[in-house]
C-alpha cells in the first residue's frame, strides 16, 4: 500500500466517523481541536464487534520524546528555521496531511501503515497547564493524572481500585519493569510487576530441587483462614502469587506466531501479547522504553528509537491479529514532555512541553487527531498544548475501559475523541 492510499483510507475513515458522531462535519484538516473534543456518548456494550473483555496497554516513552521530529510540521516554515541541523527533509518524511503539512518521521513507516489500516491515531499537541520540565516531576503529573493530588496513587491504579468490589483484582494490572510505576499504584490494588517472568517466582527454586517441594508445602493451606490474622493474609497472598506466577509464566512461554524485533520494547510487548492470548484476567498492561532524552547528536539516535517503537508496536498488532485478539486491545503511548522548538548547539534538543500521543487498535480514531500547535505562538520557546492529556485518559477510561473517568481523575475532562463512537 502506498502512502497516498494510506492517506485516502484514513480520510475515508475520518469522514465516516464524522457522520456517525455528533461532531461537526467541517473538513478534518480545518477542524479545531475543540470540535474533535466533543463529549462522546460511549461505546455501548451491545455494539457488535466490540468485545467486553477489553484490554488497555500503556506504552511509556521515557526521557521526553522529541514530538516535533516525530510528527513533523514540515508545512510550517518555523520548523526548518529552528531546526536547521536536525530537521527531517520533506522528501524523506511520510506524508500524513498535505494540506497543513504534517508528516511522520521515516522510521514510523510501520505506524503510517497502521494508520492506513485504521489501527493508529495520533493526538497532536498533548500536554497540561503550567508544564514542568523535570523528567521525574513531569512524569509524576502524567502518572497521577492530577497535578494537585499527591497521594502516591496513579490514574490506572485508581481505575483498578474502582473495580475492587466487583471483581478479583489480583491480576488486573501487570506492569513490566523492575519497579511498579506510580501510574499503576492504587490505594488498594497494586500491579503485578516483574522485569523478567523468571523473577516473578521464588528464586530459591533455582538453588536445589528439594527446596521447591518444601516451599510449596509451606506456602499452601487447605484450611479456612481468618484473614484478620496477618499471617493468614500473607499466606493468602502467597497462594495468589503462586497461581499468578504459574499463569503468567506459562503464558509468556508460548511462542508467538509473529517475528518480533530484538529490542526491549518488543520483548515486553511480546510478553503482553502472550498474556492477552492466554486470556489472563488483566485489564491494563504497562510497558516502558527509555532513551528519549536526546540532548546531543540526536538524529541517528532518535531515528533508532522511533524505529524500535514503530517496529515493536506493529509486530504487537500483527500478533494480536494473528491470534484473534486484535479487537480486544487499545494501546496508548505517551512521553512526559516534548522538546523545545529550537534545537540546541549540540545538534540535540532540550526539555520542552507538549508532544504527540499515539493510540492504537481497531476502535481508535485513525489518523491525526486535533491540530498541530503553532510554531509561532510559543510560550518562551515552547509549544502551547492543544489537548490536555487527561482528556485522552478520560476517553479511554469511559469509552474503552467503562470506568468512570470523573471519579478516577477527580474531575470531568472533555473526551479527546480518540475512540470511534
Amino acid at each position: 500500500m502506498t502512502d497516498q492510499n494510506a492517506y485516502t483510507r484514513r480520510q475515508f475513515l475520518r469522514s465516516g466517523l464524522a457522520m456517525v458522531s455528533t461532531v461537526s462535519t467541517v473538513p478534518i484538516f480545518l477542524s479545531r481541536s475543540s470540535s474533535v473534543l466533543a463529549q462522546s456518548t460511549g461505546i455501548l456494550p451491545s455494539n457488535p464487534g466490540v468485545p467486553e473483555d477489553r484490554v488497555l496497554v500503556v506504552i511509556q516513552l521515557s526521557g521526553g520524546n522529541d514530538g516535533l521530529n516525530t510528527v513533523i510540521p514540515y508545512g510550517f516554515d518555523d520548523y526548518y528555521k529552528n531546526r536547521s541541523g536536525i530537521a527531517v527533509r520533506e522528501k524523506e518524511l511520510i506524508q500524513l496531511d498535505m494540506q497543513t503539512g504534517i508528516g511522520l518521521h521515516p522510521s514510523l513507516r510501520p505506524i503510517s501503515e497502521m494508520v492506513g489500516d485504521g489501527l493508529a491515531g495520533i493526538v497532536q499537541g498533548v500536554g497540561y497547564p503550567n508544564p514542568i520540565r523535570s523528567h521525574f516531576a513531569s512524569m509524576d503529573v502524567w502518572h497521577m493524572g492530577d497535578t494537585l493530588s499527591n497521594k502516591g496513587e496513579g490514574w490506572v491504579g485508581r481505575a483498578m481500585d474502582s473495580l475492587h468490589d466487583k471483581e478479583d483484582t489480583a491480576l488486573s494490572c501487570i506492569s513490566l519493569g523492575s519497579e511498579a510505576p506510580l501510574a499503576t499504584m492504587g490505594k488498594v490494588v497494586k500491579p503485578v510487576t516483574f522485569e523478567k517472568p523468571e523473577m516473578f517466582r521464588w528464586s530459591g527454586r533455582d538453588l536445589h530441587e528439594a527446596l521447591s517441594e518444601s516451599y510449596d508445602e509451606l506456602n499452601q493451606s487447605s484450611a479456612v483462614m481468618d484473614e484478620s490474622d496477618p499471617a493468614a493474609f500473607i499466606l493468602r497472598t502467597a497462594m495468589d502469587a503462586q497461581v499468578a506466577s504459574e499463569r503468567v509464566r506459562k503464558a509468556v512461554n508460548q511462542k508467538p506466531v509473529t517475528q518480533f524485533p530484538a529490542n526491549g520494547l518488543a520483548r515486553q510487548l511480546k510478553m503482553v501479547a502472550s498474556m492477552i492470548k492466554a486470556e489472563l484476567p488483566t485489564r491494563v498492561f504497562y510497558v516502558a522504553m527509555g532513551g528519549f532524552d536526546t540532548h546531543a547528536n540526536q538524529t541517528a539516535q532518535h531515528a533508532r528509537l522511533l524505529d524500535e517503537f514503530a517496529q515493536s508496536v506493529s509486530a504487537f498488532y500483527s500478533e494480536l491479529k494473528a491470534t484473534g485478539h486484535q479487537s480486544r486491545v487499545v494501546t496508548i503511548a505517551f512521553s512526559e514532555f516534548g522538546r523545545r522548538v529550537k534545537q540546541n548547539a549540540s545538534s540535540g534538543t532540550d526539555h520542552g512541553t507538549a508532544g504527540p500521543m499515539f493510540v492504537f487498535g481497531e476502535h481508535v480514531t485513525p489518523g491525526l487527531i486535533g491540530t498541530h500547535p503553532s510554531l509561532q505562538d510559543l510560550d518562551d520557546g515552547d509549544l502551547k498544548y492543544q489537548i490536555d492529556f487527561r482528556s485522552v485518559y478520560a476517553s479511554v477510561l469511559d469509552n474503552w475501559m467503562k470506568i468512570d473517568s470523573t471519579a478516577t481523575l477527580g474531575k470531568a475532562y472533555k473526551h479527546a475523541g480518540v475512540l470511534k463512537v
Binding site: T193, K196, M199, A210, S214, L218, P230, F233, N344
Partner: protein, 494 residues
C-alpha cells in the same frame, strides 16, 4: 489483650521478650545478641537502647558534595538573563547542558546516599536510632524527586538522626528550618505578598494534628507565619523583608507569630500528642489505621495514655518509648509477631539477624525500591502507609528473593548462580546448640527467626526437609533451611 503499661515482671524477660524488643526497637538480631540482652535484664536492656539512640554518631559519612546543586553565581545569572533577553538559544542551551550535568551528578550521589544509609542500618551499633530516623523520614516525608538536591536530603537525614530519640517539639521546629522540607513543600516560595500554603497545610494535616483539627483559615494564617522561611545555598535563611509580620490568629491564638511560634501553637493543641503517640505506636507496636477514631478501643486506650505521657514529658520521645518497651502491653501475645515488616525492617533485619555478608548495598537498595520503599523518595508527603499495603503478589516474591540473595549471594535478577558466591556459614549460628538432630536444630532457627509461638504444624515441612538431607546438618543444608524459613509467610511478620 493486656493494655497495662506497667512493666512486665523482671523474671519474665526471656529470649522471647528480648527477641521481640530487638525486632521492634531495632531491625532484629541473632541468637548471640538475644542472649546478651536476656542476661542484661529488662531495665538495662531498654535503658541502654534508648541512651544509645541519643548519643552515637555514625562513623562513616557518605561522599556527598554540598556544591553539586548550587544556585547560579551573579555572572551566570546575568549571562542567563542576557541569553534569554537576546533569545540566544545556543547560550541558553549551554546553560541547560550544565544544569543537566548537575542533575546527573546529583542522581549519582543519591545512589551513594542510599547505599550509605543501607550500610549504616546494617552495621550500626544503635539500631533504634536508625529506626527512628526511618520513622521521621516517613512522618516528615520529603522526596528527592521534588527537592532535586541530594545534599539537602542528606542534611535532613542527619537532622532526623540528631533528634531521633530527642524531643518531638524540637524536631518539629527543626523541620520548619530544614532546607529540604522548605523546598519540598514550596515554602521557599512563601512570600508576604504571595503566601504559599503548602507547608502550613501539611504541617497541620500530616505532621502534627491530623485532619479535622484545624480550619482552612488556620492554614491561611499559618502560611503567613511561615512567610520568609527560605533557603539560601544549603542553609535556612529568615528573609525578614518577605516575612509577614502582621497579627495572625491560629487555632484561637493571636499574635505577630513567625514560623516557630506557629509550631508552638500546634504543639499546644490536644490533638498533637495524640497524633504523634499514634504514629509512634504504629511504628513500634502494631499495624493500625492512621485515624484514631478507627483504631480498636483497646489499642486506642493505650495510645491515649501514651499521648498524655508525651504531653507531660514535654514531647520527649525517650521516656515514652522506655515505658512502651517495658510494658505488659508490648509483650502481649496479640502484639508479638503480628506486625508486618517494612521492606527496610525485612532486609536490614535479615542481614543483622543471620549475620550474612552485606552483599551489595546497591542491590539491597534497589530491592527496597522494588518492594515499595524507595529511600529518600517516599510515595508522597504522607510517607509510607505501612502494614498490609507492603504486601502483594509481586512484592512478596521480591521480599523472598532479596532474603535468598542475602543468604546465598544469588542475585534475583540473574538466572545463574555461582555456589562460590555464598561466602556465608550459618553453622556459626549454632553456637551453644549441642545437638545436630534435625528437630532441635530447626527449632533453634525457628525460635530466633520466626519466634517460639510458631505452631508445630508449620515446622513440620522444615523438619522433613532437614531429615531428608543425606549429610544431616551442614553448611549447605542450613543455607537451604534459611532460604525456606525466610520464604515463609510468618517471616514477613515481627
Amino acid at each position: 489483650m493486656k493494655t497495662s503499661l506497667s512493666p512486665i515482671n523482671r523474671e519474665a524477660f526471656g529470649p522471647r521478650e528480648a527477641r521481640h524488643l530487638l525486632l521492634r526497637a531495632g531491625f532484629g538480631a541473632g541468637p548471640g545478641e538475644i542472649s546478651t540482652l536476656v542476661d542484661a535484664g529488662l531495665d538495662e536492656a531498654v535503658d541502654e537502647l534508648i541512651k544509645d539512640a541519643k548519643t552515637e554518631e555514625p562513623a562513616d559519612l557518605p561522599k556527598v558534595d554540598p556544591d553539586v546543586v548550587r544556585p547560579f553565581t551573579q555572572d551566570e545569572r546575568e549571562a542567563f538573563a542576557r541569553a534569554r533577553r537576546e533569545n540566544d538559544e545556543a547560550a541558553r542551551s549551554e546553560i541547560r547542558r550544565r544544569l543537566n550535568e548537575q542533575r546527573a551528578e546529583d542522581r549519582r550521589m543519591l545512589g551513594e546516599l542510599r547505599r550509605w544509609w543501607v550500610g549504616l542500618m546494617i552495621d550500626t551499633p544503635t539500631p533504634l536510632r536508625e529506626k527512628l530516623v526511618l520513622l521521621w523520614h516517613s512522618h516528615f516525608a520529603s522526596r528527592h524527586r521534588n527537592v532535586r538536591d541530594t545534599y539537602l536530603m542528606y542534611q535532613q537525614n542527619q537532622m532526623f538522626r540528631e533528634h531521633a530519640a530527642g524531643n518531638f517539639g524540637k524536631l518539629a521546629k527543626a523541620v520548619v528550618h530544614d532546607p529540604a522540607m522548605l523546598k519540598f513543600l514550596n515554602n521557599d516560595q512563601n512570600f508576604k505578598r504571595k503566601p504559599n500554603e503548602n507547608l502550613a497545610r501539611e504541617f497541620m494535616e500530616l505532621f502534627t494534628l491530623g485532619e479535622g483539627n484545624y480550619s482552612e483559615n488556620d492554614i491561611k494564617q499559618g502560611a503567613k507565619a511561615l512567610t520568609g522561611y527560605h533557603v539560601e545555598d544549603n542553609d535556612f535563611v529568615f528573609n525578614e523583608n518577605r516575612h509577614d509580620d502582621s497579627k495572625k490568629t491560629v487555632l484561637g491564638e493571636t499574635g505577630n507569630m513567625d514560623g516557630d511560634d506557629f509550631v508552638d501553637v500546634l504543639l499546644d493543641q490536644p490533638a498533637c500528642p495524640r497524633y504523634i503517640a499514634l504514629k509512634l505506636y504504629r511504628h513500634f507496636v502494631a499495624d493500625l489505621p492512621d485515624y484514631l477514631d478507627e483504631v480498636p478501643k483497646e489499642n486506642r486506650e493505650v495510645v491515649e495514655r501514651l499521648a498524655l505521657m508525651l504531653k507531660k514529658n514535654g514531647y520527649k520521645i525517650g521516656p515514652v518509648l522506655k515505658r512502651v518497651f517495658k510494658s505488659e502491653h508490648f509483650y502481649d501475645e496479640q502484639i508479638v509477631g503480628k506486625k508486618i515488616k517494612s521492606p527496610t525492617q525485612l532486609v536490614i533485619g535479615t542481614a543483622r539477624t543471620l549475620g550474612t555478608p552485606t552483599r551489595s548495598t546497591g542491590t539491597l537498595s534497589d530491592g527496597l525500591s522494588a518492594m515499595g520503599q524507595e529511600l529518600f523518595d517516599p510515595p508522597s508527603v504522607a510517607g509510607w502507609c505501612g502494614g498490609r499495603s507492603w504486601i502483594n503478589t509481586s512484592t512478596l516474591f521480591t521480599r523472598q528473593n532479596v532474603c535468598t540473595y542475602l543468604i546465598t549471594g544469588k542475585d534475583p535478577r540473574q538466572k545463574k548462580w555461582d555456589r562460590k558466591a555464598v561466602n556465608y556459614d550459618p553453622m556459626l549460628l549454632l553456637a551453644g546448640v549441642d545437638s545436630r538432630e534435625s528437630e532441635p536444630v530447626v527449632d533453634h532457627f525457628v525460635g530466633f527467626m520466626l519466634g517460639d509461638h510458631t505452631p508445630m504444624a508449620r515446622r513440620e515441612p522444615l523438619y522433613k526437609f532437614m531429615r531428608e538431607r543425606d549429610k544431616g546438618v551442614t553448611k549447605d543444608s542450613l543455607i537451604g533451611l534459611l532460604t525456606l524459613i525466610t520464604a515463609m509467610p510468618e517471616y514477613q511478620l515481627c
